[in-house]
């Protein structure tokens, strides 16, 4: 008999079990004995507490803790925007919203998409600022310092969006194919925010430099048509933003918000 045969035959001894009647009667006897010594049904709170501490014990090992940490960081950077998107400029969570937007921008690889997203965020900030300024409970005599700061933030967001929009047009993105080397393409590096902080939050961008984009090969006719269309759209959006700024300066925050919504629609 080989070891394998022997083991197989030993395995078959697994079929030996106690009688079902013995199992049942024995269970009842044991339950009554332990009941006499204090066994009881646990409350929901006790069950929850036990489940929680058991989970914490299970994940206490470094490998699990690292895995959960990475999961939290990754999901936070991917989904935190949704969680904090409702935070307004005068909320304590507004900073968290700005940070989550930055994290989200860092996950977008395509420069054109990143620019569009940045513009969208800037316009959303501006809209939120105008809705806060439009609130009579906030915009009071006692609060003029904060109102002034929010106005400044509003103007910054509009300027930022305006300059970003001009870089969304293809004449900035595309160079005609030439024998010149690709190093002649713009190598401007875009600096993501954090440099301007104020009480109402962080501004996302320094409003001047475009994100580096690769050379794109296209025919000259197609290039002209696309350039024309984008320039028109860019001009229109720019002028809408100017109007929004004007309305804000005239303290007509409702109309400013409407103009910003219009501009957002054009960017989509």
């Amino acid at each position: 008999m080989t070891d394998k045969d022997l083991i197989k035959k030993l395995n078959s001894l697994k079929s030996l079990k106690p009688d079902d009647s013995f199992k049942k009667s024995n269970r009842d006897i044991l339950l009554s004995q332990i009941s006499n010594s204090g066994a009881r049904d646990l409350s929901s709170w006790q069950s929850f507490s036990i489940n929680f501490t058991s989970f914490m014990k299970a994940i206490s090992q470094p490998a699990y803790a690292l895995g959960i940490f990475l999961f939290v960081i990754l999901s936070g950077s991917l989904f935190s925007h949704q969680i904090f998107s409702g935070a307004k400029p005068n909320d304590s969570l507004y900073i968290a919203r700005i940070v989550s937007e930055k994290a989200r921008l860092n996950t977008v690889m395509n420069p054109s998409d990143r620019n569009k997203l940045a513009v969208r965020f800037a316009l959303e900030h501006a809209q939120d600022i105008s809705s806060v300024l439009a609130d009579p409970n906030f915009n009071t005599e006692a609060n003029q310092d904060q109102v002034a700061r929010l106005n400044e933030s509003f103007n910054r967001e509009i300027d930022s969006a305006r300059s970003m929009i001009s870089y969304l047009s293809p004449e900035k993105k595309v160079s005609p194919v030439s024998e010149a080397s690709s190093t002649e393409a713009s190598e401007d590096v875009f600096q993501i925010a954090g440099s301007e902080k104020d009480e109402q939050g962080l501004q996302l961008f320094e409003a001047n430099e475009p994100i580096a984009t690769p050379l794109v090969e296209t025919t000259s006719i197609e290039l002209e048509e696309v350039e024309e269309e984008a320039a028109t759209s860019s001009d229109l959006t720019g002028s809408i933003l100017d109007e929004a700024k004007q309305f804000s300066e005239n303290k007509d925050y409702q109309k400013a918000s409407e103009k910003l919504r219009e501009a957002s629609e054009l960017i989509k």
Binding site: M1, N11, S15, L16, D19, L31, Q33, G38, R40, L42
Partner: protein, 194 residues
């Protein structure tokens, strides 16, 4: 990794619930482990009726141990049950003044088969007799050989679990298993020669 996490969670949860005197946790522990513990006890002592009594004692003692002791050294409930079963059997040997050394063919110390109907009678005759032979030879093995064979090949415990229960290192358990199998094979061969 997720499977291990769930296993660790369930282990910790069952021990904590028992520590809090949860009746349902005891019922679950009993239902999940009664077959294995019974088999372990039965193959160690060789008598159905005594195995019934000792198995009940094991569960009661385990309950009592959980209530009165810290669970820091207990990795799993299953390991704890086996540890209690081992000590209970040692106490039984001490009280009864004997250790089981009988074989299936020994009329004075006959080993009862607890539930013959659980065996498949469609097995070939020679395979059935082989199994009966092995069952008969198990009691003739050294105590620690018999124990590791029961835990590993009959009750499917892992080497880590056996090491935890017996207080030995995993490598030692592996060596012990190899020697136990060789010893059992020798006993079976002796019978073939006869």
């Amino acid at each position: 990794m997720a499977g291990n996490l769930i296993k660790k969670f369930k282990n910790s949860q069952s021990l904590k619930r028992l520590k809090n005197q949860d009746r349902d946790a005891f019922t679950k522990a009993y239902d999940d482990n009664i077959d294995d513990i019974y088999r372990f006890v039965y193959f160690k002592i060789g008598s159905r009726e005594e195995a019934n009594d000792l198995t009940s004692t094991v569960f009661l003692k385990t309950w009592s141990h959980i209530q009165t002791n810290s669970l820091e050294s207990s990795k799993t409930l299953r390991a704890l049950l086996y540890k209690v079963a081992r000590t209970t059997i040692i106490d039984y040997y001490r009280e009864s003044g004997r250790k089981i050394t009988a074989s299936l063919d020994d009329e004075e110390n006959k080993i009862d088969i607890a539930d013959e109907s659980s065996f498949d009678f469609n097995e070939k005759m020679d395979e059935a007799s082989d199994i009966a032979l092995i069952k008969g030879k198990l009691p003739l093995l050294k105590e620690e050989y018999r124990e590791v064979i029961i835990m590993r090949f009959i009750n499917d415990l892992t080497l880590e679990e056996i090491a935890d229960i017996s207080g030995k290192k995993k490598g030692t358990v592996r060596v012990l298993l190899h020697r136990a199998l060789s010893a059992l094979k020798e006993l079976v061969k002796e019978d073939d020669r006869l």
